[in-house]
Symmetry: C2
Subunit: 251 residues, 2 copies
């Protein structure tokens, strides 16, 4: 199995190192990842600047390719210009912090997998639900299991699995739940400050609002200590509103 690995925390992050090491047990791994952290970039691509690619070593051996772009850029570059063979699977992560609910729209990690899916390759995003003291062992082990399960069961071209792993030791994880995307979202606010030159600036901050997270959702699964696996697709058409709009008159 040919596996492309990317992330949004950058090629030097611990999470992508743990992921690529685990996936080497399932196939040939190519790492193409941003040269610096690109969190919350959404599904951005770089049109106005050229992209540069450099080879990166970690622990004394060749590790992968760092690109001066976003996760979506990295996946495009890998598939169009770096890999000799189209990958069978794209894996993005392991992200520091969960990507669930409507927040997946902001996620560079999910975006890396989205780009793979749009290019017709089964793709998987994996995130660990903590920002502090991450232990990637359980998530890395589950990534390997998912790659095996995908090879065995077959994932259709363009499928995307969004995986979130609770920040618990492997023995404390309560199971695996196949879930729906919740409607949970950050409630953001702006911290208004004045710089040393008397000018105003704003910092975006906020906290996760867990409303809109029924028991069968990603957010609820992780809250009860379960690994969450959510299949995502990208036809955003609002079927409910489609019928109503047919009666509108635009004048």
């Amino acid at each position: 199995m040919e596996i492309l690995v990317t992330n949004d925390d950058g090629i030097y992050a611990e999470g992508i190192f743990a992921l690529s090491r685990a996936l080497k047990k399932c196939g040939r791994v190519t790492v193409v990842a941003p040269d610096t952290e690109r969190s919350a970039v959404g599904h951005a691509i770089t049109l106005s600047d050229p992209l540069r690619v450099t080879e990166v070593r970690r622990n004394g051996a060749f590790f992968g390719y760092a690109a001066s772009g976003t996760p979506a850029d990295c996946v495009k570059l890998a598939i169009r210009s770096i890999m000799k063979k189209k990958p069978d699977l794209v894996f993005s992560g392991i992200n520091l912090g969960a990507n669930m609910g409507y927040n997946v729209l902001y996620s560079g990690t999910v975006s890396g997998a989205t780009e793979g899916a749009l290019l017709g390759i089964p793709s998987i995003a994996i995130s660990l639900a903590t920002f502090v003291d991450p232990d990637f062992a359980a998530a890395a082990a589950f990534a390997r299991k998912t790659a095996s399960a995908a090879a065995k069961n077959g994932l259709p071209p363009g499928a995307l699995l969004n995986i979130n792993v609770p920040a618990l030791p492997a023995g404390k994880i309560t199971g695996v739940s196949v879930t729906r995307q919740s409607r949970s979202l950050f409630t953001d606010r702006f911290d208004r400050r004045t710089d040393p030159h008397g000018r105003t600036y704003y910092w975006l901050t906020g906290s996760l609002n867990r409303d809109g997270a029924p028991a069968d959702s990603d957010t609820a699964a992780v809250a009860r200590g379960s690994i969450s696996v959510t299949p995502l697709q990208f036809d955003l058409t609002d079927e409910k509103l489609l019928g109503n709009l047919a009666n509108w008159k635009f004048k």
Copy 2:
């Protein structure tokens, strides 16, 4: 009606000027837009840098607020920190270039409207299907009609309409079609070059692939000279795959 206007081509673009002028006939308009072009930023937000806001004049009068962020940042800032009253409608555009099919995922214009929708406000993205010699008159007139129709028919909180206007004189536009999102996508490739210092760099380029655009889709409507109105939503759960995954064993 309180209307927030943003875009991704930046506050000095002609499209946002035409849009805000047209919408002033329907209500009170507040413009908060990026200080420079932010195309193809997807649903990015700015977490690692502070945001600055400056007041911008155009044609000798106060026009709006320029922010050092993405369209999603602008909408968050406007609603949380700039506008005294929550808007009744968020409008994003008029974009230079269509935003249809899977390409909406890359769009800063659609992302501005998405942020409004996630904050519970009916939101509309509007794009003109050309990159050259734009005439925004027909699109601006249709934006005004859509705002009136939304006020009359009511749009649910969180609804998003993605409008694409063909680049034709008003008299040549064949009608208005309520459509589904197509699966059309750019087929991208990388132009590999060498800089004056002998180092390799890549430019992303490509062309629109119109496959996956049935007659009831956004792409097909614009191709036949009709204005396309596509309702979008952001629950990405893949219902088809959800059932299959329940039978997977992760081991």
